[in-house]
């Protein structure tokens, strides 16, 4: 018998609210819902590991169950833990290996860009990926930058950071580093505008995709590396991240799921909009012009889980001329690497349909969201461009300069 890590299932009073809010069990009978897969089954798994159900794998780890739980049961964590503790991997999957190592894939992707982007668009290549790697052919894949954000930053932006009075650390995450250079530079610009000099650390992937694909040991290693790297030269300045999932890993999952001591970064790490909201409230607002934009805002699951929604909306409301339509909270369905797998692609698309319909009905000019994978999903399924809140602020700042 193993020592139990998470006994919060004991508090479940079977109200089943979590299953009501589960985007997966709503769309497919293959997943019995978080109550059944989490607290209910955990008792059975403790009795006998042979009672583990393979249906666990359908959980996307969106954590909406945990948001809805009135008993504070860490349902998604129980499911994630059970998934990898009991369902032993039968064989090595190159796809899962690559997908979970976003930094490795990113390094290759950027090294070979634009060649890699060209190849990933080829029908023949897509066919090959579909057949051999089980990455659905219909899925739009992320584009890679020609250079990584960290290189670009060191080369072009690091020098001027000394000119500002205050400092903070920016945890950019893999997506900014390899796929969305623009968001990285926007963030640095916005922070500079607020008189903050930005530093970056020698970071590795935060571990979210590793956890989702069962590489718990590797995720723990990365967690230790990141905590160390973020405290190494500077153990007092604030840490911000533009990825809601990375932030969630740093502040919650390291400690509660991976059992890594993150106390040295816990209190100074926050998702970017929370930091901005606090600064804005204290009067440190950059000069912004009227943006004149109608935008629909989609709230990512992991941001909601950490209670960050209020800050993003608060910040967005302070942008002059931004007409904001806050969409009903729905999961977009992609859930990180989940939507990139052939066996879950159909479910993933079905989950997102409600959201896509809402967006179409709202008739915005752009969609705003905090999460990089939500962005990929929405851009693939609707005709709208998806922008990060920080980039919107950057736009407003530029608009202010034009006048």
């Amino acid at each position: 018998m193993d020592k139990l890590k998470n006994i919060s299932f004991d508090h479940c009073i079977k109200c089943t609210i979590c299953t009501m809010y589960c985007p997966v069990s709503k769309e497919t009978p293959l997943f019995p819902g978080p109550k059944q897969a989490g607290p209910d089954s955990e008792r059975l798994r403790i009795k006998s590991p042979g009672l583990v159900d393979s249906s666990l794998k359908y959980c996307t780890n969106c954590k909406r169950c945990e948001i809805s739980c009135p008993s504070d049961v860490r349902i998604a964590e129980i499911i994630q833990d059970a998934k990898w503790r009991y369902l032993k991997k039968k064989f090595f999957r190159p796809r899962d290996f690559f997908m979970s190592r976003t930094d490795l894939a990113g390094r290759f992707g950027t090294l070979l860009a634009p060649l890699s982007n060209f190849f990933l668009k080829l029908d023949l290549m897509r066919f090959f990926l579909d057949i051999f790697l089980k990455i659905p052919g219909k899925r739009t894949l992320p584009k890679y930058n020609r250079t990584t954000f960290s290189k670009y930053f060191t080369k072009y932006m690091a020098e001027r950071q000394k000119n500002f009075t205050r400092e903070l650390l920016y945890f950019h995450g893999c997506y900014v580093n390899y796929n969305d250079l623009r968001l990285g530079t926007d963030t640095v610009d916005v922070l500079n505008e607020m008189d903050y000099g930005v530093k970056i650390a020698d970071e590795k992937c935060c571990g979210v995709p590793l956890i989702a694909n069962g590489y718990i040991e590797k995720a723990t290693k990365n967690a230790l590396h990141n905590i160390n790297a973020l405290s190494l030269n500077d153990c007092t300045s604030r840490i911000v991240s533009t990825s809601s999932s990375c932030t969630f890993a740093l502040t919650h999952e390291y400690e509660s799921f991976l059992k890594v001591d993150n106390s040295s970064i816990l209190n100074r790490t926050s998702y970017i909009t929370r930091f901005l909201y606090e600064e804005f409230s204290e009067g440190n607002i950059p000069q912004m012009g009227n943006i004149g934009l109608r935008a629909a805002y989609h709230s990512p699951c992991h941001l909601e889980r950490q209670g960050g929604l209020i800050y993003t909306i608060g910040v967005l409301k302070m942008i002059p001329g931004l007409e904001l339509i806050v969409l009903n909270s729905e999961c977009c369905g992609i859930s990180g690497t989940y939507g990139f797998k052939k066996e879950y692609y159909g479910i993933s698309q079905k989950i997102g349909e409600n959201l896509f319909r809402q967006i179409e009905l709202a008739e915005p000019e752009v969609v705003i969201t905090d999460c990089e994978t939500c962005k990929m999903q929405i851009e693939m399924n609707t005709r709208y461009r998806v922008i990060h809140p920080v980039s919107i602020i950057k736009m407003a700042i530029e608009r202010g300069r034009e006048i």
Partner: protein, 544 residues
């Protein structure tokens, strides 16, 4: 009108012993009926902690019982595989315990032939991470767990398949006799009908209630009711049986049972007129928690599901006060030689562990009295469900989840093939805590003498998980109607009784999460369903 029944042997009492005698006699080809005033296992059999004794617990004080235990332990593992889990057991010594008992236990086990080995503390802690790390020594013994509900039910099922008849909710109210010989019994059925059973031999296997039966025949049998209370927690906080290595005393054992852990027991003498409704008292609960926490510290942080009490069916010798000091030995009384009443046999004392041996002894006497030459086969013939299953069971049930197949298999053994048929409705989940499907309920309703929802709980496990019937009871009640076992009103009445019965066990542990759970259950059934307002029979409906 009185309904008449003819048979050879009338067995009174539907506990493990009565069921064992019924099976034994049926296998010998002797016609028998079993009469039970409530449901099967509704007495003492269903109110213990389900320990498959290795005998080590008795080795120091009662070597005879210990020998019986270890020999029955080995037999039961062969014949009742699906009612047993060979978890193994530990005897742990805490700093405040007498070290000498540890040595005594080891040497007496050796003497008795019980395979008890001292293991290093570190190994014990590895095996059972929840254990109190302060323990100073540990002994490994071949304890296990046995499910009394399923064991009894399987005995009954086998007996019925060999021609026996079972009448539940049939309370014996008188014994006929003519010229010093008993000839039969008069009984009142739960549905109001009166029955007469005539047969040559009456076996009194009514346990603690046996005193009343004897009185009807004009014989005096003094029982000494001793109440023992137990506490159930939400999940298995231990996976092996944990015994406190000291003289038998209160709260010295923690037994994993199905998906839960059971902490036992207390010992308290009660007046004979209280045997029908033993109830755990607050001081008992406090003591169980306090002492249990010494063995597994996490206990007090775990949700307590319920508490219950059973009454030990101990025969009173002339001078004794504490229930635990009385011999648990088996007493078989032929009332012909004892009080000159021919035809009445009483089997008393003993314990769940020795039910089969008791049944064998009784059946030997019965068949001798009937003048038949028969021999016992219960030590070698597996119970229905316990036959060997060859091949991978999963292969038959690709569409059904592991947890359902595994749980059903755990409860019914090879009879799973009669339960989970590859027809979708048969694996619709009714109880989500214990994975009971519609198929399992249908099977129980048709084959396992189920009259009420409470009986159904004892055959399956509905309502025994953390929600205590919150989500499954109304679904199961509806199935009674669907399968033609009850009218809608009867189903509603059953639902109410069931929830009241669950409530009785929750009440003693009403704090923390079980309090929150009960609140939710209360809201659902009173506010949402208006169960308090629903008519329970046709007259009530007309009144409304």
């Amino acid at each position: 009108m009185t309904l008449m029944h003819e048979t050879e042997v009338i067995i009174i009492g539907g506990g493990a012993t009565g069921a064992g005698v019924l099976r034994d006699l049926s296998l010998r080809g002797i016609r028998a009926v079993l009469l039970e005033k409530g449901d099967i296992t509704s007495g003492t059999t269903g109110r213990n902690h389900g320990l498959l004794h290795s005998g080590a617990r008795y080795a120091v004080k009662d070597i005879e019982s210990a020998r019986e235990c270890i020999s029955e332990n080995r037999i039961l593992k062969k014949i009742a595989g699906h009612c047993i889990e060979e978890t193994g057991g530990l005897f742990i010594t805490l700093p405040e315990d007498d070290r000498q008992y540890h040595e005594q236990l080891l040497s007496r086990c050796l003497e008795t032939g019980i395979d008890a080995v001292e293991i290093p503390v570190s190994e014990a802690l590895k095996k059972e991470p929840g254990l109190n790390p302060e323990i100073v020594s540990a002994i490994k013994v071949p304890d296990g767990i046995i499910d009394p509900f399923r064991l009894t039910s399987a005995n009954i099922l086998d007996a019925k398949e060999h021609g026996a008849k079972v009448f539940t909710y049939m309370e014996v109210c008188g014994i006929f006799s003519s010229s010093g010989k008993t000839t039969g019994v008069k009984a009142l059925s739960g549905d109001g009908s009166v029955h007469e059973f005539h047969g040559n031999i009456i076996v009194n296997a009514a346990g603690i209630w046996g005193q009343r039966i004897c009185l009807m025949a004009g014989s005096e049998l003094k029982m000494l009711p001793s109440k023992g209370s137990m506490l159930i927690v939400d999940y298995r906080i231990n996976n092996t049986v944990i015994n406190r290595c000291r003289k038998p005393s209160d709260a010295d054992i923690m037994v994993p049972g199905d998906t839960v852990s059971i902490l036992g027991t207390t010992s308290m003498e009660i007046p004979y007129d209280e045997i029908d409704s033993p109830f755990p008292e607050n001081i008992e609960i406090d003591m169980l928690l306090r002492e249990g926490e010494r063995m597994v510290p996490n206990l007090s942080k775990t949700r307590a599901l319920r508490a219950y009490s059973g009454v030990r069916p101990l025969l009173a010798p002339e001078d004794s006060s504490d229930g635990r000091n009385i011999t648990r030995g088996i007493t078989l009384i032929d009332h012909k030689s004892r009080d000159g009443i021919d035809g009445l046999v009483t089997i008393a004392g003993g314990k769940l562990m020795t039910y089969r041996l008791m049944a064998e002894m009784t059946s030997d006497l019965v068949s001798e009295k009937l003048g038949k030459k028969t021999s016992c086969r219960t030590h070698s013939l597996p119970l229905p469900g316990s036959e060997k299953v060859t091949g991978n069971i999963r292969k038959f049930y690709r569409d059904i989840s592991n947890s359902v197949v595994g749980s059903t298999m755990y409860r019914h053994g090879k009879r799973i093939f009669n339960i989970l048929k590859n027809d979708r409705k048969n694996f619709r989940l009714i109880c989500e805590c214990e994975m009971v499907t519609e198929g399992e309920i249908e099977y129980a309703l048709n084959n396992l003498d189920v009259t009420t929802l409470i009986d159904l709980r004892r055959r399956t496990r509905i309502g025994m998980g953390p929600c205590q019937g919150e989500l499954c009871s109304y679904r199961a009640a509806a199935l009674f109607n669907e399968y033609g076992k009850a009218s809608p009103h009867e189903s509603t009445a059953m639902l109410k009784d069931f929830l009241e019965e669950r409530w009785k066990g929750i009440k003693p542990v009403l704090w923390g999460d079980s309090l929150r759970e009960s609140e939710l259950t209360y809201w659902i059934y009173t506010s949402l369903f208006g169960l308090d307002e629903l008519p329970l029979n046709d007259t009530e409906r007309e009144e409304k």
